[in-house]
Amino acid sequence: MKTFKIGGVHPEEHKLTANKPITQIPLPAQVSIPLSQSLGAPSKLIVEKGAQVKTGQLIAQGESFISANVHSSVSGKIVRIEEVTDASGYRKPAVIIEVEGDEWEESIDRSPNVVTEIALTKDEIIARIKSHGVVGLGGATFPTHVKLMVPPDKKAELLIINGVECEPYLTADHRVMLEKGEEVVTGVRILMKALGVDKAAIGIENNKPDAIAHLQKLSANYPGISVVPLKMKYPQGGEKQLIKAVTGKEVPSGKLPADTGCVVNNIGTALAVYEAVQKNKPLIDRVVTVTGESLTNPSNFMVRIGTSVDYLINQAGGLPTDTGKVISGGPMMGKALTTIDSPVVKGTSGILLMSEKKSRRVVVQNCIRCARCISVCPMGLQPVFLAQYSEHQMFEEAEKANIMDCMECGSCQFTCPAGRPLLDYVRLGKNTVGTIIRNRVKK
């Protein structure tokens, strides 16, 4: 079975919600839609306080090259434009909408039938994806229309769809593949047309045999699309590791996936692309896995963007009394929230509730030079030295040791027997070296 060769760890799966179908939940009383939900610059607000908005209406425009449109996920009145605490731990500007009914924009096709014929041209597809605010739903939230516009000096040969979902606990992509398989396959075909490629590979980890079988069946009529089962290993879902496993080629250090002829998109993004292109529906909702051993009703919910995490936890049975940490995302790369009043944004793939006992880190001891961190690093780096350089402000050496190649997967810190905060210091080093490099380029 295909896999990536360097590094990798095997955290426990905890896929508590793998068999829970996607559940619709009642609309909340209020949503808080942040203006910055993608990589790049925050979007510019184009509505005012007091305005009435409809579900799917454009409320903020992306201005710079790397930015995305933001749409209202509900219908109602904009009661406030204020700052809310999001996953960054800081307060960011957001639009607060009091929900009134559920009136959608008329142009959106809400019928349940799957539209498989692709009527738009390549350029129209990209324009539609851009106007409808579709961003990468794997977590990085890179604006999809930018990713589809491959630079002229590179050529796209293969579209890879990321159905790996290697993070423990998360099952949103799994359920999407099982329950919206046809839409996903159509989304894949739309992306192929947008890129001008005739080959697509859907990578799925082999802990989801039902999804593999289902998508294999659905894509049987389309010879260009193949389903590639992958060995279970974290971080198989990383872009570069996925390209390596599927094609055998490694993205060179400092280069982009397009340099290998591959473009990678998440399964959720493929669904969002289908909805945008075939149903004229902007990105206003997504599947979020709400999970944790102490929850009474862990589920996969279909959630409107801007719904508070608090509301979702209540839908999942209420906040357990032993909760120590609330994580947006998975346990390996997710962000710990400072408050459950944070809103769900486009990049929120899951909400994980951790008990108090599991929330405390292990005691930090001296490095015993066991080199386990080196053996598990999927990028072939030496986390022990990168962390040391960062801790001691040796940023020149850190840059030379390729600290910018780090994908922040957390395998090193996960496995360190001395419990050292390796990734914390590497992230600090990456931020500092990144600033140094940007200042150097500016000169």
Binding site: P11, V246, K249, M332
Partner: protein
């Protein structure tokens, strides 16, 4: 629910820790401990106990009263050093000498450099070499192995080790056949089970191999250093044996005799003092193997494992600098079309 906790990702840990690694090493050393008590009696237990107790005591004293910092004797590293130091001395050694050895191992070889993880040299070996040089007589007076509950093999109380006999015999001009024919010479079977003279922990090949298998199963050690060390020692001594079988000990006996197996599996694999990359570890093993055989044949001492490992420890930082793991994406791409045709 009390307050929410935050920290950077990852938020899970696979729960390996220093103590579990150290206790794994101690469990791996149990077969050798039992064999040593079987052949050397209660003396063995005395030496091991005093060594461990002294190591723990000195670490506690230094951390609490000299460094005035956190006390970490429960992480198991001093315990392991204690047992390894005991393994490297004869079982009839006076208790005071072992205490001095523990002081050198923990106080000088480990604590002066900053404690766990910061020492460049293997602490147990530093202690052993210090004792060998300071107390040469007590460190080379080997008790005869006397199985428990059985009559003594001879009337003598002390004798020589396999390698000791080889060294003396060669220096006296005897041929290898003559040396191996002597009644005192243990032979292959005895070397394998442990009925030979030697330090506490090095006598029984089978006990050490059992321990090594446990270490491999627990993934505490990898194959690189043992294979490289044993391989190079075997090949080098084999070449010498082929050249002159009467002057040089054959390779199989070379592996079984002396502290080779103890050193290879328990001391040359110590994570703190050995290289971090796979290629570096192989180089380390190669160097140690060749040095061991060289010292054995042309050096003044009959056994070269301690010195070989310590010398290679000195090269570890250099090896770490020179050998880096293969980086993802370090090789430039040749063609993008080829990449996608495999689908």
């Amino acid at each position: 629910m009390s307050v929410l906790t935050i920290s950077g990702s990852p938020h899970v840990h696979d729960h390996q820790n220093v103590r579990s690694i150290m206790s794994g090493v101690v469990v791996a050393m149990l077969p050798a401990i039992f064999v040593s008590i079987y052949f050397f009696g209660i003396d063995s237990a005395r030496v091991i106990f005093i060594s461990v107790a002294s190591c723990l005591l000195f670490e506690w004293l230094i951390q609490k009263y000299m460094l005035k910092g956190p006390v970490t004797i429960t992480d198991g590293s001093a315990l392991v050093t204690g047992v390894l130091l005991a393994f490297n001395v004869p079982s009839n050694i006076p208790s005071l000498i072992i205490v001095i050895g523990a002081l050198v191992s923990i106080g000088i070889a480990k604590m002066t450099f900053g404690g766990l993880g910061k020492n460049p040299f293997n602490p147990a070996l530093i202690g052993r070499v210090f004792l060998l040089i300071s107390f040469p007589v007590q460190m080379t007076t080997w008790p005869i192995p006397k199985p428990l509950f059985s009559a003594s093999l001879t009337d003598a109380i002390t004798g020589s080790t396999t390698l000791g006999m080889v060294k003396e015999g060669v220096m006296a001009g005897k041929s290898m056949d003559e040396i191996m024919a002597s009644t005192a010479f243990p032979g292959y079977l005895n070397d394998f089970i442990g009925a030979q003279g030697g330090s506490l922990g090095e006598i029984s090949a089978i006990a050490l191999l059992l321990g090594a298998i446990y270490l491999f199963i627990r993934k505490i050690i990898t194959w690189h250093i043992p294979v490289a060390y044993l391989g190079s020692a075997f090949i080098f001594s084999g070449i010498l044996y082929l050249v002159d079988p009467q002057t040089y000990l054959n390779p199989v006996m070379s592996i079984l005799a002396g502290g080779m197996l103890l050193g290879v599996f328990f001391m040359a694999t110590d994570m703190v003092t050995t290289p971090m990359s796979a290629k570096g570890q192989i180089l380390f093993g190669l160097g140690a193997g060749i040095l061991t055989i060289t010292i054995r044949n042309w050096g003044a001492y009959p056994e070269g494992v301690s010195f070989a490992i310590l010398i290679m420890n000195a090269f570890t930082p250099l090896i770490n600098r020179g050998f880096k793991p293969k980086r993802f994406g370090s090789v430039p791409l040749k063609s993008t079309v080829k990449a996608t045709q495999k689908i």
